[in-house]
């Protein structure tokens, strides 16, 4: 089924929250997923796979232990949503080059690096395996790959400054058609954020009157 970008963002944010992310990160997961869909990538599908894979894993096990040398997670595999927010927070440092160790679904780093390029005014390139993605400060995006863009894991990712002329647009049209199974998976995660209905809450929580036949 086709969803609006706002629906994709809202569902992704709730799903990320339901999967245990703090609200601030969940908001960023929503924006990142929306960005992927807007650029023609499989945003919700990748998020569904990532959340399923990491369900129940605490933040500390998925985040970089140290951001001075090669970034590695304590369990061995970085979550791209967490690593992505940290890349974006450190936007000014990326031009000089940052190396990430083993990372899940590296495509999810791209929206964060695209934002970092805008914030820092620097064109950046993100590369792993046989994939290279260049983003410029004015929203340009170039994707060159011979591997699987939706790869579930990669050994290492390099992020560094690049020549803005390498970022000429090559991205595809929006992808708003979402796989039904992935949407249902996100829905199940999102459902964890909804309070079960109780009679008390039904009567008092919304604060409406008992009758609207007036």
């Amino acid at each position: 089924m086709t969803y609006s970008l706002n629906e994709i963002e809202a569902m992704s944010k709730r799903a990320a929250r339901g999967a245990g992310f703090d609200w601030g990160l969940a908001e960023e997961a929503g924006k990142a997923t929306r960005w992927l869909s807007e650029q023609g990538f499989a945003g919700p599908e990748t998020l569904a796979a990532l959340l399923t894979q990491n369900d129940g894993h605490p933040y500390a096990s998925l985040s970089p232990i140290d951001v001075n040398d090669v970034w590695n997670a304590s369990t061995g595999t970085l979550c791209p949503l967490i690593a992505g927010t940290v890349l974006c927070d450190l936007a000014a440092r990326l031009d000089a080059g940052v190396t990430l160790g083993q990372t899940s679904y590296p495509i999810f780093l791209v929206p964060f690096v695209a934002t970092a390029a805008k914030v820092s005014g620097t064109a950046l390139t993100l590369s792993w395996d046989n994939t290279e993605i260049c983003v410029s400060s004015d929203g340009g995006l170039r994707v060159s790959h011979s591997g699987d863009l939706a790869a579930s894991v990669t050994k290492a990712v390099l992020c560094k400054g690049t020549d803005p002329s390498k970022c000429t647009d090559s991205h595809k049209n929006r992808k708003q058609d979402v796989d039904a199974k992935a949407w249902a998976t996100l829905g199940a995660f999102a459902h964890r954020t909804y309070a079960p209905a109780t009679e008390e809450s039904r009567l008092a929580g919304a604060g409406a009157g008992l009758s609207d036949n007036d």
Partner: protein, 566 residues
């Protein structure tokens, strides 16, 4: 945003610490910059034309109709579906599953196939799907009190009772108007570059404007169907008194907290408008007489405003007293010289209730369209550009921002139950937003991030264990739970009116204050709280109907003084 001529020293903007208190946000009134007024102003100036190409409704009131609004470049169509709703299903809440009428605003003119597709989805509302050809989805329920009275009166050949019209004010009330990508509709980003949709909520306001006409047509149609030989149309002066009601629950309150930049831009535009008017050195005769002519109409508007809610009854009594004082004061005050509006504002700040002060703020803007209407262009927001966290900021800087915005929250005992008594959550029942008692209901784990003051204080506790020259990036890497509030605080540096300066989970919080603020920016009037978290309002009351728009006055939101209501 500077205006040079005829200004004395520019009056300062009112500080967020004054403006962003919930009691004041819950006392503001519609003004020239309200979204309904922006829309009608544009459509009038651009000579929009309106039509009703389809009206296929049977004698029971079941069927559909299409209303078009044609602007300089594009046409928009309200597709309305009328239903036969059993009374026991009539509920204004999100959890309702059927309505008296359902609507969508279509981008262009719908084909027969579009109508068939929409007829299978729009009546279902949240359970249906629309497409990017649709810009909004909404529904409305009849005012049982007034609807039957109007139909039976018109059918019998006479006008409905003016007093009943006054006391209710609308034939139907909308219970949700969804826009911006909801249920598969077009994302706002797809249409926000169209001039007619630059200001916020213009699709939704257009949808409601056309809905008002449909509802009146429906009532006249049903009266004629009931008694074709005797039925009459409604008197034009009387029908102007009918707006569209709206019944609003908690959904709007989270909106204000979740869209801090948008909230800032609305409030900042209104505050800039006030500052410009207060900076006027000398008022012309026509400006003064405009203001003086509106004052009794504002008095009338307040007289027409009914509520059974104790809080609003008290506020209305104070407002009526304020207007008496103001009416007396302006007979002797010099409204022409020495920055007269500034003097009037300062007098009001000393002598009137918050409701009275804010009504005066709106009234003072009325004669100054040339000075302030352009601010409508500053009220939307691109929220994507403000989202990233500045990780390079030092923690001492972050702490200073927190003191500036949330210094007041340090005086609250956050260990007390009263300070955290409430929790905002979303129910699994049709995802209805609700507010519950944290210490009495099992809801805390479902809490939505709608208590920034409490979150800021939690952040401060952790901040105290770090060094001032550490960076925000290092802090949030170890404390991801604070990313949300850190982002908000960083925003507030550039957007001073982004944050509410009150505790939104306090035992005494009144969510209706948040609803009122948003609805006043829409242009709503006659706020009638049904509880501390539910409010009914009126939209487009006294507004021109589409065919009257070209000849209408800009200040339509204040009733004209006729024999009936002088």
């Amino acid at each position: 945003m500077e205006k040079a001529e005829n200004t004395c020293e520019k009056a300062a903007l009112r500080p967020p610490s004054l403006v962003m208190r919930l009691s004041r946000m819950g006392s503001i009134h519609q003004c020239r910059l309200s979204f309904m007024r922006i829309l009608l102003r544009r459509m009038k100036h651009e000579n929009w034309t309106f039509d009703r190409p389809v009206f296929e409704v049977d004698a029971k009131g079941v069927g559909h109709a299409v209303y078009t609004a044609k602007g300089p470049k594009r046409t928009y169509s309200l597709v309305a579906f009328a239903h036969d709703l059993p009374p026991e299903m009539r509920s204004d809440r999100v959890i309702a599953t059927a309505w008296d009428a359902t609507f969508t605003l279509f981008d262009g003119f719908p084909t027969a196939e579009d109508i068939i597709r929409l007829s299978r989805n729009v009546p279902l509302q949240e359970v249906g799907r629309v497409s990017s050809k649709e810009l909004s989805v909404s529904r409305a329920n009849r005012s049982v009190r007034l609807f039957e009275h109007v139909i039976s009166s018109l059918a019998a050949g006479h006008q409905p009772d003016a007093k009943m019209i006054e006391s209710v004010g609308y034939l139907m009330r909308t219970t949700a108007v969804y826009g911006s990508g909801k249920l598969g509709a077009a994302d706002r980003e797809m249409i926000c570059d169209r001039p007619e949709f630059t200001a916020p909520f213009q699709c939704e306001m257009l949808s409601v404007f056309l809905t008002r006409t449909f509802v009146l047509d429906l009532a006249e149609h049903l009266a004629a169907a009931r008694s074709p030989d005797t039925a009459v149309k409604m008197d034009p002066a009387l029908r102007r008194r009918l707006g569209i009601g709206n019944s609003t629950g908690l959904g709007m309150a989270p909106f204000l907290v979740n869209h801090p930049v948008l909230l800032n831009n609305w409030v900042a535009a209104r505050e800039e408008a006030l500052a410009r008017v207060r900076s006027v050195a000398t008022a012309s005769d026509s400006e003064v007489s405009h203001f003086l002519a509106l004052l009794p109409r504002a008095v009338q508007n307040v007289a027409d405003w009914h509520s059974e809610h104790p809080i609003q009854i008290e506020k209305l009594a104070a407002l009526k007293a304020d207007l008496k004082l103001l009416t007396t004061h302006v007979t002797k005050a010099n409204l022409k010289e020495n920055a007269p509006w500034n003097q009037l504002y300062l007098w009001a700040a000393e002598n009137l209730s918050t409701e009275g002060q804010e009504l005066l703020v709106s009234l003072m803007m009325e004669p100054y369209g040339d000075l302030i209407d352009e601010l409508a262009d500053c009220m939307s927001a691109d929220e994507t550009t403000v989202f990233p966290i500045n990780g390079a900021m030092s923690l001492s800087h972050l702490g200073a921002l927190c003191d500036e915005v949330y210094g007041w929250a340090k005086k609250i005992d956050w260990q007390s139950h009263a300070a955290q008594a409430r929790a905002w959550y979303v129910s699994e029942e049709k995802l209805e937003p609700r507010l519950g008692e944290r210490f009495e209901e099992p809801i805390a784990e479902y809490e939505q991030p709608l208590s920034p003051a409490r979150d800021a204080m939690r952040m401060v506790e952790d901040l105290d264990t770090w060094e001032g020259d550490d960076t925000v990036a290092a802090f949030v890497l170890r404390h991801p739970e604070h990313r949300h509030i850190v982002r908000r605080l960083q925003l507030s540096e550039r957007f001073p009116y982004a944050e509410i300066r009150d505790n939104t989970i306090d035992a005494d919080v009144l969510p209706i204050d948040m609803l009122r603020c948003k609805l006043a920016f829409f242009g709503a009037t006659h706020f009638d709280p049904r509880s501390d978290r539910w409010v009914r309002i009126n939209m487009y009351r006294n507004a021109p109907y589409p065919e009257e728009l070209a000849m209408s006055a800009e200040d339509w939101s204040y009733p004209t003084l006729s024999e009936g209501n002088a």
